[in-house]
């Protein structure tokens, strides 16, 4: 009874097959083009609103396949993408700023499959269409900002502690503090030890000077914080853009991947993701002469700015409120039909604004728009990207009355600009500027085509292999092909269970895995033939064939696995998808080639008492 599997082995093959079948099943169900509406506020959407949306869609005469309201989110499934776009446009107009309307592809997996955690593979952007961005956080800028902050803090601390100083300035990587008198130095050093642990202290030969530098540990923390903070901001911004199932992930030390499935308007997406725009409110300095400042002698407490027309204007150094104190912003028109941003401040900001406006009625206040602009210049024949902080006074208005929490700002160029600015203010500012270093956009038609191409390659290839295997190895060829089919099933099931992202390279990986996995069966079949030629009985030939081939199968698969793992660890994006499929495919193929095909062979031949001939 060499060719007989114990019950547990047969059951194992059967159970694995059943489980694989169930978990691969969701991939057969398609996806519905749908529109998803959710609240941008903390409070969730209420039932009444959902009913309102439902009737609005029906009133527009669009047939809805299904309408779901769950967890404060509305999902309207539609029959085609034209309807989807129509409904999305309709709802975007109707719902206003408090709701995001996003296009989505909702899987049509039946509830019983979803209940056991069986979901379809997630389609990559090259298959469903959408845009992929790789953003690089400008770490130098983050560190520089921190230096500036320390610079100001030290000055403030010196003043508070009444230690007289001549200058505090950033110079060649150091914050150089020059005191008025050398005998104040111990007091300053103890202040540093108490409040500025994150700075390395160097004492240069000059007795009245102390040089400070951010410690390496602190620098690392600053960088980590910059990436984390930027990811939060980007997430908020993406939510504001209205994208269903966005992916926002850190990659490496200073990069962030943002994937927006279904997004077509990449220009706006790029504007929103990459911008560092924020606002500051300052009082206008009316006491000093602007011309003097333009000539290079600005007064101590003020700074020179330029407005949109390029006219110089002096503003107080002290900021009333900054963008971080804004809790909400929306765009619209003011009474005179100009584009405006309506702003709400948090408690601290509101109190400050209230106090200031009360004391300064009748005086002008300015709104400063701050943004980092990227320029590329040629320096010594090399491209150098240069980021410049652009500060522009967008409006100056006289304080008419006391206001604190809510107010409006005008002076923007267009309603579009007002809309973008309000979005950016709501989502928060990026703490460090980002560059988009990679973009990949795939249109929906190409995505659909790519799915077809991937499936065609697999299907036609498989048919050709099956045809040849059955002709060449007859019954054993059929067994091999069944095993190969189960291998694909297993592979798809594992990928679905892992919720891996399927891409076109991934589909190529499946095809290649099929092409390579057949090797194991060829090895076994050839071995069996050889043993038969050497005069073994059919039963013994099957047994020895499988036994002898096994070591070779393990050896040859291990080398491919090594290549797959290296690709997975070092590859990026699409290559990783290919490598993942390759690695999993090798593992599943070992099971299917050895266990599944053996079970089939045993089932066909193992029970025959007297075995004369094999169909091989």
């Amino acid at each position: 009874m060499q060719n007989h599997f114990p019950l547990w082995k047969n059951s194992l093959v059967l159970i694995v097959f059943m489980i694989a079948l169930i978990y691969a099943l969701p991939n057969l169900y398609g996806e519905d083009p749908s529109v998803q509406v959710s609240s941008t506020r903390t409070e969730k959407m209420v039932q009444e609103k959902a009913i309102e949306i439902d009737s609005a869609i029906k009133a527009a005469g669009v047939a809805v396949k299904a309408f779901e309201f769950k967890d404060g989110r509305v999902l309207a499934r539609l029959s085609n993408t034209d309807d989807q776009l129509k409904v999305a446009d309709l709802l975007r107009d109707k719902m206003g700023n408090d709701y995001t309307v996003a296009l989505n592809l909702a899987p049509t997996t039946p509830a019983w499959l979803q209940a056991i955690g069986a979901d379809a593979m997630y389609l990559g952007l090259d298959l469903r269409g959408g845009v992929h961005f790789l953003l690089e956080v400008d770490m130098d800028a983050a560190v520089k900002q921190a230096e500036e902050r320390y610079n100001d803090d030290i000055r403030l601390a010196l003043r508070n502690e009444k230690i007289r100083y001549q200058s505090v300035a950033k110079d060649s990587g150091y914050i150089k503090v020059k005191l008025k008198a050398a005998e104040d130095k111990p007091a300053f050093l103890s202040l540093l030890g108490k409040d500025f642990r994150a700075l390395d202290v160097t004492e240069p030969p000059a007795q009245d000077e102390v040089w400070l530098k951010i410690t390496e540990h602190e620098e690392k923390e600053i960088k980590k914080f910059a990436v984390a903070q930027n990811m939060t901001t980007l997430r908020n911004r993406v939510n504001e853009l209205g994208v269903a199932e966005p992916v926002i992930q850190q990659q490496g030390e200073n990069r962030i991947v943002v994937q927006l499935p279904g997004v077509q308007d990449t220009t706006r997406a790029k504007e929103i993701l990459g911008t560092t725009a924020t606002l500051e409110y300052r009082l206008v300095d009316v006491e000093h002469d602007v011309q003097k400042a333009v000539d290079g002698h600005p007064p101590v407490g003020s700074r020179l700015y330029y407005d949109k027309e390029g006219q110089p204007i002096l503003l107080n150094r002290q900021i009333i409120v900054t963008g971080d104190q804004i809790v909400d912003a929306s765009s619209g028109m003011d009474q005179d039909g100009r584009a405006a941003v309506f702003i709400s401040l948090n408690g601290v900001g509101a109190a400050k604004m209230g106090k200031l406006t009360q004391a300064n009625i009748g005086k002008p206040m300015a709104v400063v728009f701050i943004e980092y602009k990227v320029e590329t210049r040629m320096v010594n024949g090399e491209k150098v990207r240069h980021k410049e902080k652009v500060e522009k006074v967008i409006s100056v208005a006289t304080i008419q009355g006391v206001f604190s929490k809510r107010f409006q700002t005008t002076g923007l160029d267009s309603p579009q600009e007002a809309r973008n600015l309000s979005l950016l203010l709501r989502a928060g500012a990026l703490v460090a500027p980002v560059d988009i270093v990679e973009e990949r956009t795939v249109g929906p038609s190409l995505g659909q085509e790519n799915i077809g191409k991937g499936i065609n390659s697999n299907v036609y290839g498989f048919i050709a292999v099956a045809f040849f295997m059955i002709i060449y190895y007859r019954l054993f060829g059929l067994f091999s092909i069944i095993a190969l089919g189960i291998n694909v099933l297993l592979l798809v099931a594992v990928l679905s269970l892992l919720q891996a992202t399927l891409t076109l390279p991934g589909m190529a990986g499946i095809a290649l895995t099929v092409g390579m996995a057949i090797d194991a069966n060829v090895l076994i079949n050839e071995r069996i033939r050889e043993e038969l030629r050497l005069g073994m009985t059919p039963g013994a030939a099957i047994y020895t064939g499988y036994e002898r081939a096994f070591a070779t199968i393990v050896d040859s698969n291990t080398t491919t696995l090594i290549a797959g793992i290296a690709l997975f660890t070092l590859g990026s994006g699409p290559i990783r998808g290919f490598a993942l499929v390759l690695c999993i495919g090798i593992l599943t193929s070992m099971f299917s080639a050895v266990m599944v095909s053996r079970a089939l062979v045993n089932f066909a031949y193992g029970r025959q008492r007297k075995l004369d001939k094999l169909a091989i």
Partner: protein, 311 residues
Amino acid sequence: MELFKIKHDIPFMRYGRITTTISLLTFILAILALSLKGLNFGLDFTGGIQIEVGYNQPANIEAVRKVLEDQKISEFSVQNFGSVKEVLIRVPMKPETNDIQLSGVILAKLKEQDAGVVLRSVEFVGPQVGQELFESGGLALLLVAAGIMSYLAIRFEWRFALAGIIANMHDIVIILGMFAFFQWEFTLSVLAGVLAILGYSVNESVVVFDRIRENFHKMRKASIPEMIDNAITTTMSRTVITHFMTQMMVLAMFFFGGEALHNFALALTIGIVFGIYSSVLVASPIVLWLGVSRKDLMSVKKESAEIDNLP
């Protein structure tokens, strides 16, 4: 059906000199192509912008060219891609093109010109990304080679490891040489294909080596070249059939997978064809030449047996 009914072992090792000469020649040619022509690196490595658009009617290439000229882009290429209705625009990385908004501007202008234009894909790769891909690609190649070598060294013996890796590096260089000679575009997916081939092609050598080892036990009276000849002859059927099967899947990708998988399949095809040749006719002569003997493999076996028996 059976295609390979070979009665006597084919004396492959006797032709060792010829086969080594052939592979040495192709190898040198490949190196020449690589050094003289160089690889035609794709966007992934060079950085730049690549825009693919589709029209309802055969595209007017000249009109598209004009749009790019109006944007004051100094260097670009416009060509049909796949069909006459599809156009591929490439702009290499230049200071003025390192602008993430440029693709949007070009698309808007194309839309003005013909409202029926459909965006199929846009790719922008910044200069810093390309450089890194380059480095990680090279690193992956080294890592795979080192991993496979150490596996072969543990599983067989250092001579087999060395022979296996030389044979496969020979394949890789030939793939790269072909890509350089014909100036086919070398993209990220081609690199993935090359690395996959590195793993796959070693299979061949492994199968033959496995047989050689088996023969060391079985064919006690035969000489070493005879044993190697026997190993190659007996595994020949499997080698050809397996490669044929894999090649069928690759051909399916080549014909049905579209432009995206075209060069990937091409790299695999070259790898598969030369994989057969090199694993049989390059790796084995090297093993022989390195002077493998019965003792080498037997002692490995014995040592491991002893370790197993330790309490």
